[in-house]
Amino acid sequence: MTATRFLPRERLQTLFERIGDLGYRCMGPQVRDGAIVYDDLSDAAALPVGIGAHQAPGRYRLEHYAHARCFAWANGPQALKPLLFAPEETLWRVTRDAAGRLAFAAAAPPSQRRAVIGVRACDLAALALQDAHFAGDHADPGYVSRRRDLLLVGVDCGHPADTCFCASTGDGPAVSNGADLALTELDAGFLVRAGSAAGRALCDALPLRAPSDAELHLGAAEIEHARQSQRRSLPARNLRDALFANLDHPQWDDVAARCLACGNCVAVCPTCFCSTEREQPAIDGREAARVRLWDSCFSAEHSYVHGRLLRPDTRTRYRQWLTHKLGGWHDQYGRSGCVGCGRCIAWCPTGIDITREATAICTADQPEGEA
């Protein structure tokens, strides 16, 4: 990151304009259906001004405050994952001629320069994990194309939710890398750091001034407060061995009795990558499209192998999810698959808390009771 600069709040619109000048379609957070969602946004006034998000196990409610801040909330149900790993995507098409010959054609991945404003540190950490999965060996063409065309403006998280634990996973609340531009929101405006050549070019085009020492101090203090205010945590950064040593722990039965196997946690998790392929045949039988959809390890079909189900019950499915998320990821990508965003806690209909389950399974300590 380069030297920190300052963007006055009344000039925030210029950020959208300069990004648009560079040929990017701007996306940003906005209120829709009672939640913060990311979608097309070209007007700074459409940001969630004065909005906060109260999150608790099984609960997500927006609240209105009499302040001018527009990033004073932790996160919404989705951020970057659907933009890169599409919930539904045609992979290729096939046609069959009268002689039975098959012609396959890859679906051209739509390529469009997109900029996302307001990305959180947890979501940038999740993006790095998705990059390792989809853009490493055997790179996914659609993902790589969309990733290449992405510009990211991160915003430090000054208002973590009750469900957040990014400080414990080491992924937040401050944006440290992965963003082209990083902002810290203050009442009067934004501290701005560039994290890439594109970010530096953007800085040069913005009406920035040097920040005062007081502004720098205020920014650092807000982030430190956000870090200190998080009450949830995982017992350790690496729980791999503890989880695989406890595959018969009675807690798996306990959580299975509360888990609906609905897959909400998987849908909102910014690192979950499972997908399934479906056939979409044309009605005349001459064409078919191969479509990839998000999948969930909580479904029965997910564990189908040659006429049988490997995981016939919720106990083995929740265990599959958690041992992968906090265990197998270490082997596969060198770190835990959890970035501490807390979405799986807030969006679980029965309020299952990953930090409590992991603590119960991996430590001899009893998890702390909820107030």
Binding site: A106, A135, P141, R147
Partner: protein
């Protein structure tokens, strides 16, 4: 921003068209499709290792992973032995010469034959299979028999449930004629013509001769059989890191992306399907994995 390598069209793109050249009916519900990529350039470029698999695809039906049962020295000819058991395999089993399918691959890590070659301490080879587990090792056996002098004693053990399930008897008979080679067959339920062992194929490990410390085992079949076989091989003194098992999971993408073959720390299609017992023995057989 991402510096990812360019996608590899052979394994990441759509399937390539393949033609059924011929079909063998092996046993009830079991057939072998002999396939050939129709594009000459793709056919010439295709290479595979024994133990790898392809994804076979039928329009409007779907795709299924099938191991390659033919000789890697002739990669223009791809044999796939199929049991009609699921939605896709039931349709594949109806195909005949001239029919077209889609083919993606090859995928996965195959048998470690190069590791056994030329290393005196690794020269005896035990091939322990059950049911259609014989298909993924046929290419490996062919590889070994074509280089017979580079391997030690060859022990081939195949088990079937019913005697009528045994396929490729003429191959087993031919292998039994090779020097320093022992072939034994087992059937749980024999018919009146059955000449060999009645019972589990893993029983035969105690009846055949090999040098446990100087052996490599290739194991493929139903998981209970592989678990029993690997444990017995260890008891007999074969080092756990010299026992290799080929696993089957719900492969869809073939490149470790879709997550269906997640097994603890591994994505089986990408990291396997062939694993050392020393790697997976601690987790394999745990219900749910």
């Amino acid at each position: 921003m991402s510096t990812a390598p360019a996608p590899d069209p052979a394994v990441m793109g759509p399937p390539q068209e393949a033609e059924v050249v011929s079909r063998d009916d092996e046993a009830r519900g079991l057939c072998t499709l002999h396939l050939r990529l129709t594009d000459p350039a793709a056919r010439a470029a295709f290479r595979f290792q024994p133990g790898q698999f392809n994804m076979l695809y039928l329009p409007a039906v779907g795709g299924v992973p099938i191991s390659i049962a033919s000789d890697p020295a002739e990669p223009e000819h791809l044999a796939h032995t199929i049991r009609a058991v699921g939605r896709v395999t039931r349709v594949l089993a109806t195909l005949g010469a001239g029919d077209r399918v889609g083919l993606r691959g090859p995928y996965g890590r195959g048998w470690p034959l190069q590791a056994a070659e030329g290393q005196a301490e690794l020269r005896d080879l035990i091939v322990l299979t059950g049911g259609l587990g014989c298909a993924p090792v046929v290419a490996a056996i062919g590889y070994v028999t074509a280089r017979r002098e580079r391997f030690g004693r060859l022990v081939i053990l195949q088990g079937v449930k019913h005697a009528a399930d045994l396929i490729w008897r003429e191959r087993y008979d031919a292998w039994a004629e090779l020097p320093d080679t022992e072939v034994r067959l087992a059937a749980d339920e024999p018919d009146r013509h059955w000449q060999d062992h009645v019972g589990l194929v893993t029983d035969l490990l105690d009846e055949v001769r090999f040098r446990p410390q100087a052996s490599v085992a290739l194991v493929c079949g139903p998981e209970p059989m592989m678990l029993a076989g690997a444990k017995r091989l260890v008891e007999l003194g074969v080092p756990a890191e010299h026992i290799w098992l080929s696993l089957e999971r719900g492969f869809q993408c073939g490149v470790g992306h879709c997550g269906h073959c997640q097994l603890g720390p591994w994505l089986v299609c990408r990291d396997g399907p062939v694993f050392r017992w020393s790697e997976i023995g601690w987790l394999l057989g745990t219900k749910g994995f």
